[in-house]
């Protein structure tokens, strides 16, 4: 039976998210800027990341809800592109992200002679979430076992370990890579593979497949047993 090399086994967690309305809304671009300036960080996080867990046919080109709204409700593709290129993984913090969002919108407002409005039924609703994280009880002892398990993980587990993990120490590192570090050079290739997964542009099911493929592409040669 495969044994862990050293350290703790990988504790497979899962999470379930439920969406809440904050009651804050925006009907035009100026209101959007004002609300973004004051909204709680969890709502910004929701509109950049947790929207992955929400049912929609959103255009994957515009992954954050602000860019989508600019395109769909304000019909301003240029603004949508600018907002869409804001890439949270390259930001230091949600506060910095907030500042960048406000900057882009203020630039746009300054260039225009009028404030663009959405139709009443297309208001932007600021949302937030409650996330319940729970231990699945599953323990994975080798990285081969971890790799084999990815395709059977829920999208909640993928979200928690690969996306949400980056908010927890060690910051900006997914849980899989953090755990694989204990094998040092033996897992360097798979960790590099995981680092190259541009997780921001995939649905969670697609992301699960990508991660599984990384493990499959760099199979354990016995070092992780």
């Amino acid at each position: 039976m495969a044994k862990k090399k050293n350290g703790k086994p990988f504790e497979l967690m899962d999470c379930a998210l439920i969406t809440l309305a904050t009651g804050k809304r925006a009907l035009n671009l100026r209101e959007l800027r004002d609300r973004i300036s004051e909204i709680e960080e969890s709502s910004l996080y929701y509109h950049f990341y947790e929207n992955l867990l929400r049912p929609s046919f959103d255009d994957p080109e515009f992954r954050n809800d602000f860019a989508l709204w600019a395109k769909r409700a304000l019909h301003d593709t240029r603004l949508a592109e600018k907002l869409g290129t804001l890439n949270p993984p390259s930001c230091c913090s949600m506060d910095e992200l907030r500042r960048m969002l406000v900057d882009v919108i203020e630039d746009q407002l300054a260039e225009r002679e009028f404030v663009p409005w959405a139709r009443p039924e297309d208001e932007f609703h600021f949302l937030t979430s409650r996330v319940v994280v729970f231990d699945t009880g599953r323990r994975l002892n080798t990285w081969e076992e971890l790799g084999r398990s990815v395709r059977g993980m829920s999208t909640g587990s993928i979200f928690y370990h690969f996306i949400e993990a980056r908010r927890r120490p060690p910051v900006e590192l997914d849980d899989f890579s953090a755990w694989l570090k204990q094998w040092e050079d033996a897992t360097a290739a798979v960790r590099e593979g995981l680092a190259r997964v541009d997780y921001y542009f995939w649905t969670l099911s697609e992301l699960r497949e990508r991660i599984a493929k990384v493990f499959a592409d760099f199979p354990d040669k016995g070092e992780g047993r």
Binding site: D14, I18, T19, A21, G23, P55, V132, V133, G137
Partner: protein, 414 residues
């Protein structure tokens, strides 16, 4: 009557990981007592959902029960006015009508007192049973008001009254962000769902579909348009007939308008009469008033359709849209409520704003049969991922865990 399907059976459709996820979440809720209350045991989407949700909650170890309030025809006439007012129609609700509502609420609160007071969590569905809470000030459990209707632009006098009724709840649930209101408690957003294993949604043999068409006098060799919904003005059945007549000039289509009535909908008969008048003289329009147990017939009609229509002008969520999508049908839907969440232009159907718009999109699809197939595949996959009963159950469990085990934005259970 056959036994209801188990969680394992749902695993075959939704995925075993989904069921495991539910079991793990429910472990933290073992033995808690949950009561759901609504106004009818048959007819309408709420009853359909509760009929399946309650047994599954029990299988997961939650002690869940379902109670139905009792009401007089006068009471349901008042609550129907509330329903219309919430959805934005200007209605007058007299002081006398309000007293009837309050008196019947008090009676039901007394009748259900023991069950409601012993519950850890109470889910009250829609306005009909909502006022019971005001008659039980000693309650200890968490009370949640679940609003299934489109409350995005309510008629203000009605909402002002109902807001006072529901503001004392611990939380409310709306189907869409558009419906959320200014309330002094958390407002959760949970879209409803369909049951893939119910008689209305299970796979059917082609022979059964053919027999149902024959039974209703439909011609299997010609394209069929179907709208399934109560005979309710918000569902715009007259608009569907207008759209059909426009399409008929180009394609030999048939139309089936299939619906039932519910005990809490006193206007159904009047709307049905209007629809029959609009269809008069056209043998290719079938108006089918079906009993509440005609689920397999509805299933067959949706499967027989080439395109399904749901041209609502107001809609809570539109579960008939979800049902049609689950059967691989593109949907021509009104730009209203939850239909907007489900129908995406060129992906799962088309959103329309008028009978003319509906006719245009139906003609477009009939001219592009390959798109009908492609959209149908996408539609089914979208429903599998987001609108099955298992997802709905997960969100109820998550909400209860978050209400019972903490109120931070992130709750870690070990």
């Amino acid at each position: 009557m056959s036994a209801l399907p188990s969680l394992a059976a749902y695993g075959e459709v939704a995925g075993k990981d989904v069921i495991e996820h539910l079991r793990q979440l429910a472990r933290r809720l073992k033995g808690i007592r949950v009561v759901h209350v609504n106004s009818t045991r048959v007819g309408g989407g709420v009853a359909e959902i509760l009929n399946r949700l309650i047994p599954l909650m029990n299988e997961l170890g939650v002690n869940a029960t379902w109670e139905v309030i009792e009401g007089t025809p006068e009471f349901f006439a008042v609550t129907k006015s509330f329903h219309n007012g919430i959805q934005g129609f200007p209605v007058n609700v007299s002081e006398k009508a309000l007293r009837i509502y309050e008196e019947v609420s008090r009676h039901n609160a007394e009748r259900l007192r023991d069950q409601l007071l012993s519950a850890d969590v109470v889910f009250i569905h829609d306005p009909q049973p909502a006022r019971m809470m005001m008659h039980l000030p000693e309650r200890k459990g968490k009370w949640i008001w679940r609003c299934h209707v489109d409350v995005s632009r309510p008629h203000r006098p009605v909402w002002k009254y109902l807001r006072e009724v529901v503001k004392g709840y611990d939380a409310s649930i709306f189907s869409l962000a558009d419906f959320a209101q200014q309330l002094p408690h958390p407002q959760y957003l949970i879209p409803p769902s369909i049951d893939p294993l119910s008689a209305k949604n299970v796979e059917l043999p082609a022979e059964e579909v053919r027999m149902v068409m024959e039974e209703f006098g439909l011609d299997p060799s010609r394209p069929l348009l179907v709208q399934v919904s109560r005979f309710d003005r918000f569902k715009d059945p007259i608009g569907v007939i207008e759209a059909y007549k426009l399409v008929r000039q180009y394609f030999p289509v048939q139309l089936a308008l299939a619906g039932g009535t519910a005990v809490d909908d006193p206007e159904g008969a009047a709307v049905l009469a209007e629809v029959e008048k609009a269809a008069e003289g056209d043998p290719d329009i079938k108006i089918l008033l079906l009993p509440p147990d005609a689920d397999r017939a509805i299933n067959a009609l949706q499967r027989a359709a080439v395109v399904v229509v749901q041209k609502s002008i107001k809609e809570g969520f539109g579960l008939t849209v979800t049902e049609a999508m689950w059967k691989g049908k593109p949907v021509i839907g009104g730009h209203a409520g939850g239909i907007k969440l489900q129908v995406a232009n060129y992906h799962t159907g088309f959103l329309v704003h008028s009978p003319e718009g509906a006719a245009l999109r139906i003609r477009y699809l009939l001219n592009h049969p390959e798109l009908i197939v492609q959209m149908g595949v996408k539609a089914r996959s979208f429903v599998r991922e987001h609108f099955l009963l298992t997802r709905h159950l997960r969100e109820y469990l998550t909400l209860m865990v978050s209400l019972i085990h903490g109120d931070g934005e992130r709750i870690v259970l070990r």
